[in-house]
């Protein structure tokens, strides 16, 4: 707040009040219905924000010299939000995992049933944790690799806070029973529209900052962040086309039905994995891993091949979720083929990352932060191999509908997405708060081992349960009839569901340790703020006013 000018404070307040008015209008239009309740949540969110801005209205005005530095405040808040969403979403994850082992472990309340909590877990991890991590790191990477300051100070806040409003509306909606039931795209039409607005502003920040860049080339990390922003926009808009029953109701009906809807949903679903959970995080990896290792990226041609390979081929792969279904076979075959070829660009990325560490392996041994990133690259390689394998029709006939898919997803989400995020955040936090190191490197070690053991326990239990399920469903006895009833297979799952809950719990504990570590680093920085150093090397070439430096 102390870095916002008077005009910016006024614009900020105005936007908050406009959002509050939208919330009020929703509350009025949906009186007595769930839509109205969502309106009150928007209203409450926006009024809290307005109150915060007004409370800080008289904060000292910014020092003009700040416009010659990078603007990192949204990144800092984004990092804290990332860690908070991690704890919330992973806690709900452990809870729903426990419900499958002990179904009575809840209340006789609608909001507390498995079906409503599960999307809170999935959206909380993907959009709350993953999305905030991507926004926070992308704004940092964008400025450093362009050597340019963000174009203004309001739009990054609009993106960060507006995006979190989307997450809050989505999660509270699930608990109330609002969902359009599309996997990983559950939020209803009004939340989807809001996200489009936020996303356009996010895209404009990227374009405007790149236009001001002082580096002739756009660095590879930004290729991935751009692909993430652009393709997620396309996917989001097409997949969520729907007709609301009225503008006073949360309910809408999808524009597509049946087989076309299935293909559209998995085109979206698989590419949410590709462009949200892969491309964006590869952007993270391409910046923070070489920085932390102190080594340049191993190969430029490999970066090009893997980037365009991923951007082109992933979009064909979604139909491997629909093998042996009523989807025409030619589409299934295309999806399988591209899924298998996808292994090439995927392993090119993973190999590029690991080869970058050559000459820095002693650092991997000693530094848990870099080790997080190294293990993430390994899990990325393993998960993409597993993904290509599972996309083969005959393998998929066994693995589909089983816990094997859940194991695969968590190998990617825990082993790749979360590990690269934690590694990047541990690297970024001391830079952002101008500290020598994180509060406790020892706690980073603890977090690393909790996360790794949690992932392994989780993934192995789901592999076991998934393959047992798949085999039991297709086993015949000597009379030529099915050997097991469905419930027989469910009973066999019980020990694995307990093990999976335990693995998830370990991972959650790690996230809590990490959050504590980050918050303590911030606290320390606050306590010693008097002695603000301000590292001289970390400055943009052109400040807000675009002063051209000698030598440019």
């Amino acid at each position: 707040m102390t870095k916002l000018t008077v005009t910016e404070r006024q614009i900020g307040l105005l936007i908050a009040l406009v959002v509050a008015a939208i919330g009020l209008a929703m509350a009025a239009a949906g009186r007595g219905e769930l839509f109205g309740a969502q309106g009150f949540i928007v209203l409450f969110f926006a009024l809290t924000l307005s109150g915060f801005i007004i409370a800080k209205w008289d904060a000292p005005l910014p020092d003009p010299s700040q416009f010659e530095r990078y603007y990192d405040d949204p990144t800092k808040v984004g990092i804290v939000l990332t860690m908070l969403w991690a704890v919330i979403a992973m806690f709900v994850g452990v809870w729903v995992a426990a419900l499958l082992a002990w179904p009575e472990l809840t209340f006789d309340a609608e909001w507390a049933s498995f079906g409503r909590l599960r999307p809170v877990h999935t959206s909380g991890v993907i959009f709350g944790f993953g999305g905030n991590a991507l926004i926070a790191t992308s704004l940092h990477v964008l400025q450093r690799t362009s050597r340019a300051r963000l174009p203004d100070q309001i739009s990054p806040w609009f993106v960060l806070i507006g995006y979190n409003l989307f997450c809050v509306v989505a999660a509270s909606g699930y608990l109330m029973g609002i969902t359009q039931s599309k996997e990983y795209a559950e939020p209803e039409w009004y939340a989807d529209l809001w996200l489009v607005i936020v996303w356009v502003v996010y895209f404009l920040i990227y374009i405007r900052t790149l236009a001001r860049r002082k580096e002739p080339h756009i660095y590879v990390a930004n290729w991935y962040y751009m692909a993430f922003i652009l393709v997620v926009a396309i996917l989001h808009i097409v997949n969520n086309l729907a007709v609301p029953i009225s503008f006073g109701s949360a309910k809408s009906y999808s524009a597509f039905s049946g087989v076309q809807d299935a293909m559209t949903q998995w085109w979206y679903g698989h590419n949410a994995v590709a462009f949200f959970l892969t491309a964006g995080f590869l952007g993270m990896m391409y910046y923070y891993l070489p920085k932390r290792a102190g080594r340049p990226i191993f190969s430029y041609p490999l970066s090009i091949i893997s980037f365009w390979g991923i951007t082109f081929m992933y979009m064909w792969a979604g139909s491997h979720h629909l093998h042996y279904t009523a989807l025409p076979q030619w589409v299934q075959t295309l999806g399988m083929t591209f899924s298998v070829i996808l292994l090439v660009p995927s392993w090119a990325s993973a190999g590029n990352a690991l080869a970058t560490l050559n000459g820095a392996w002693h650092k991997v041994r000693d530094d848990a932060t870099l080790r997080f990133m190294m293990v993430a690259a390994v899990f990325y390689g393993l998960s993409t191999f597993e993904g290509s394998f599972m996309a083969i029709r005959s393998v998929n006939s066994l693995s589909h509908y089983t816990d094997w898919t859940i194991g695969h997803v968590h190998g990617g989400a825990l082993g790749w997405v979360a590990m690269i995020t934690f590694g990047s955040i541990y690297a970024l936090v001391p830079w952002m708060w101008k500290r020598e190191t994180i509060y406790s490197p020892k706690l980073v070690e603890w977090h690393f081992w909790l996360a790794l053991s949690g992932t392994i326990v989780y993934v192995f239990s789901m592999w076991n349960s998934g393959i047992i399920q798949g085999l039991m469903w297709r086993t015949y006895n000597e009379n030529g009839t099915l050997a097991y009833s469905f419930i027989d297979s469910l009973v066999e799952m019980h020990p694995y569901y307990i093990a999976r809950t335990f693995g998830g719990l370990l991972f959650l504990l790690g996230a809590i340790v990490g959050t504590y570590n980050v918050l303590m680093t911030i606290r320390q920085a606050r306590l010693e703020q008097g002695a603000e150093a301000g590292s001289e090397a970390d400055l943009p070439i052109g400040g807000r006013d675009g002063v051209i430096q000698p030598g440019e």
Partner: protein
Amino acid sequence: MADFHRKLERSAIAFMLAIVGVASIGGLVEIAPLFTIGETVETAPDMRVYTPLEVAGRNIYMREGCYACHSQMIRSLRDEVERYGPYSLAVESKYDHPMLWGSKRTGPDLARVGEKYSDAWQVAHLNNPRDVVPESVMPAYRWLLRNTLKTDDLGEHLAAMRTVGVPYTDEMIANAPADAFGQSAPDDASADGVAERYGEATNVRPFDGNPGQLTEMDALVAYLQILGGLTDAAKKTEQTALGE
């Protein structure tokens, strides 16, 4: 190639256009033809639309996240056909906006669960699954019997579905709340309209055992009991050859 790319990565706009172009091809090739190639969806003249009560039940099915654990898509594999019935055809979910094929079977497939169990079994099972299946890990949906079904906006639901392509008539839309009530109250005057508008074969009975009161349980059971029953198309294909 590297030289070309060095040029490309100096222009933000060109790079972004390249991303959009390259990324769009897959979806255009795989999705667009599904709307134009006629044989993608079979024709089934006997296919009927969901009644208002079934629509309400389907929305409860989505609201409670049932699709997260139950698929509605029987694959063309021998063991699935023997376990669940004839494999699913595209036409069977033609009116499903959105589709609920699912991706995970923590519980069994439900594509053909309609009329497999009695209404009373379904009610008891939904109220507390472990009363009828002791090993089950399904949540107990005790509030379904407690909650009165909201019917006043069902006409708007049907109208929105008509906008996206489901052939509801003006008459169906106008009578939606009455038809929802009538379908679970066979002795009420409003019951006649249901058979008239949706066909004689429509299930008209007190699904939750209490004809006087329309609960969310009525709607969900009505929906479950029609699963696999909108058309007989799947039973008329040459599926016996499968897996032999």
